[in-house]
Assembly symmetry: C2
Homo-oligomer: 503 residues x 2
């Protein structure tokens, strides 16, 4: 295409990205420091910005220039930056033109209001207060899915596609089914094992200041740059990439254990490392943007679990942990590590171990698929939730807050997001195996405090790629193989087989 | 005008106000939590938003509709809300059309960059590092003033007019000259008085947590609503009205005295009380907006000084202060109050007493008038500054940071703002005298913790008026008299004559 037109598109994309990063700040502030009296106004601000962004995405001049751009090649390893950008710009434009401005604004407002209502009603275990918000959001998301889907396909697919380009429930299902089977078997063996970690090993006085200091030491050591970010507190931790040199995370603390706050922070730091590894020279264009939420979650979950719950990591950080939490020293490193990796069904996803975590995801995948498909109504959700919890974990949540209302996602309209965690775990295991193969003994490096080789590998093979390759192409290029559940299954069987002394 | 057109203008104005409130959040964050790595990006974000706002202000459809609107009456006590809005919309539109988008964006960017550079270079006493930013800003502000001024008038007037509609340096000068003369005489008498406060009475251990608790108690007692605001920290305290229920202030602490942080906080709370008292049903339109920075400063300075440094106020809060700072009890309330009201020339404006404060303002008024007029160059400023400091206070700043670089204003392009503080003090004294006349013994009310009558008076006569009346009309309507220096002079002579036992 004409250079002048491409330049126009680049400038247009960057300006849009600046507006999006303002929206990012509105969200960050909503979740960290917004006073109660400012909530209604915030939802309106977000609505106005959504309206502006929608008008930009559907701008007739943009449509005209994009229509002129013919790109023969939209995929493949040798794709040019220009072709990547055009592919994604067209996709964003196509999606936006299918949605009316009214709907775009209604969705943004309802999401902001829903999320704020969730925070309040969850605290009060008030399902009835939350339900009208959820019903509104589900209806709007169904309307959105209807507008987006070409017809014939599942409505839910249109929502997944927003987070995972090209994925569908039908393509994800066999991966999840295979994973589920293997996990049930593994979980059964673990539960039958006579070896039991002592969860008391993790409990002791954890003053917030000590937790914060330890977290800063850890994530700083992993490569999180506090000069280009910050750590605040929020009910549901998140990462906010406001600018290339401004990638913020939030955390939350438990009073009697530091591990929840720690792993949550490492998780967010993993997201942040990805965001910071994106090619800054392409900032504001698809080439410089993250490619999908599964790839994003692959990074956060990799650092949280494959690094943060590994032997090598704790060789490096156990002494520091004992410095911050002196009572820890009594337990000994091995017992501590076993307790960190305890596999035990829990009602709460974010506190779940690596094995049961994926079952939480698969369960949510099923429920939201039915919800968007209209086979399940929002008001029937608590019952369906409890019945799935029973089926998967033989557990019954003691209230709505630790049951159906525990996650922020649905309140803010993020239906179709949960599969990204499961896919992300598979991507992570496959990346990690490949990195290990190429770099050598990662645990030894971790024990020496040497996390840079792994980060370097991820930067080169994943982060710096931006949206160049779609996720399933990216994993093939980076690892030489198709995405598969086997790496995750193998990793979990190996690690927990050893930890629990299974045959 | 046609109802449909007026409705269009109302909607347009509100949408613009939402964008402006996003800009407000960008600025708030820049001054509180922005990590260093995010600075360049922030300046770009602000530039993009300035560009959007400029395009909106100069929109051809807006111009067309405004041109059709004939308003016979633009001033007077019986003006309608519609006429107020049309008057201000036309004014904003007229100003914006005189400025190119390029200049609007350059100004916004340079202001953000200049302010960030100021924070850093001030800390390092690095005048040379700051100078290029200041030179750029001065040149841009001169260009802006040139574009705005009709020709013939002083360039500086065009900048004053941005903060104080209708004011000019020529109209302000006689007020300041009268004030200056009276203050020199008063200051001489005070310096000759044998009565000397003991500044040591204010010094003692002031742990930040105690300062914060005390400030929250005080400004909460004055009417600041923490449910509709918050208090954070910043190098230069400010108030940010992000939304009608979200008016935030910042503060800063000194380690060995709590009074700086306290009075600074009361000052900002005064701004916030004004913002919160604006008529919320007119939010997003001029009728619901503050009318000028002098009126804004009249509110902050009134609460800070006429309330916060009064006998009645300390009857109420001295016991609380002694609870938070036990060493305070040794001094006794009278000695403490005298020390709080010590008159003593200081190099720092924000730490100046009520008497010398106005001289700081008058000095800055003169300097920036010359700077914008081209009679003084930015690089000559330190010498001019020191010579004025010597003339006014017989003081020599010990470095740039407490001299010419002490204020944030010039770094962010706020030339023409300083007079608003001086005018604000005059408005405040005139309002306060009238409120006292109507309400009775305010000091007695303060002593009883009863600040609502005063706040109610201000809400009714000032806050709820929004931009209905221009400042000099507002003061006439509220007090029955023209703006004059005499009330401020009378207030200062009365208060300090008594405190220092002058004849």
């Amino acid at each position: 295409m004409k250079q002048a037109n491409y330049q126009w598109l680049l400038d247009y994309s960057k300006t849009t990205a600046y507006y999006e990063s303002m929206l990012g700040l509105l969200h960050w502030d909503q979740r960290t420091y917004l006073p109660e009296g400012g909530r209604a106004h915030r939802s309106e601000q977000i609505g106005e910005m959504a309206s502006l962004l929608h008008r930009r995405a559907t701008d007739p001049q943009l449509a005209e220039i994009l229509a002129e751009a013919h790109t023969r090649k939209t995929r493949g390893e040798d794709i040019t930056d220009e072709a990547v950008n055009l592919r994604e710009w067209k996709r964003i434009h196509d999606r936006a033109t299918k949605i009316s401005e009214r709907l775009a604004v209604a969705l943004a407002r309802a999401a902001s209001q829903g999320e704020l209502a969730w925070g309040k009603t969850k605290e009060e275990n008030d399902w009835k207060g939350f339900l009208p918000h959820l019903e509104e959001i589900v209806a709007l998301k169904q309307e959105e899915a209807q507008a987006l889907s070409a017809g014939g396909k599942e409505l839910y697919d249109a929502l997944i596609d927003d987070f995972e380009q090209g994925e569908t429930a039908g393509k994800i299902e066999p991966l999840f089914t295979k994973l589920e089977g293997a996990l049930f078997t593994l979980l059964e063996k673990i539960e039958a094992s006579p070896r039991k970690p002592d969860p008391a090993a993790l409990r002791g006085a954890c003053p917030p200041a000590a937790q914060e200091a330890f977290i800063r030491e850890v994530i700083g050591g992993l490569g999180y740059d506090f000069q280009a970010g910050r750590m605040d507190f929020s009910a549901h931790p998140f990462t906010s990439a406001i600018g290339p040199g401004d990638v913020r995370i939030t955390t939350r603390f438990s009073h009697d254990s530091f591990v929840m706050g720690l792993f949550s922070s490492i998780h967010e730091a993993g997201h942040a490392l990805y965001a910071r590894g994106l090619p800054v020279e392409h900032w504001g264009t698809p080439r410089g943007s993250s490619v999908s939420m599964a790839i994003h979650e692959s990074q956060s979950r990799l650092w949280e679990n494959m690094v943060g719950k590994s032997v090598g990591f704790w060789r490096r950080f156990y002494p520091a942990a004992c410095r911050h939490f002196p009572w820890l020293g009594k337990t000994g490193q091995d017992q501590f590590l076993l307790a960190v990796n305890e596999v035990c069904p829990s009602p709460i996803r974010t506190e779940a171990d690596e094995v049961t975590y994926n079952l939480h995801i698969i369960m949510r995948f099923k429920l939201e698929r039915m919800l968007i498909g209209g086979e399940l109504r929002a008001r029937e959700l608590p019952e369906a939730w409890d019945s799935e919890m029973d089926r998967y974990f033989h557990l019954r949540p003691k209230n709505y807050s630790e049951g159906v209302m525990q996650d922020i996602h649905w309140s803010s309209g993020a239906f179709g997001y949960f599969p990204s965690y499961g896919l992300g775990n598979m991507y992570a295991a496959q990346f990690f195996a490949k990195a290990q193969k190429e770099l050598g003994d990662l645990q030894k490096m971790f024990a020496a405090g040497d996390f840079w080789p792994l980060l370097g590998w991820l930067r080169k093979n994943i982060h710096s790629q931006g949206s160049r390759l779609l996720p399933r192409d990216l994993v093939r290029t980076a690892t030489g193989e198709q995405l598969q559940a086997d790496y995750l299954i193998g990793y979990l069987e190996g690690k927990y087989g050893k930890a629990y002394g299974l045959r």
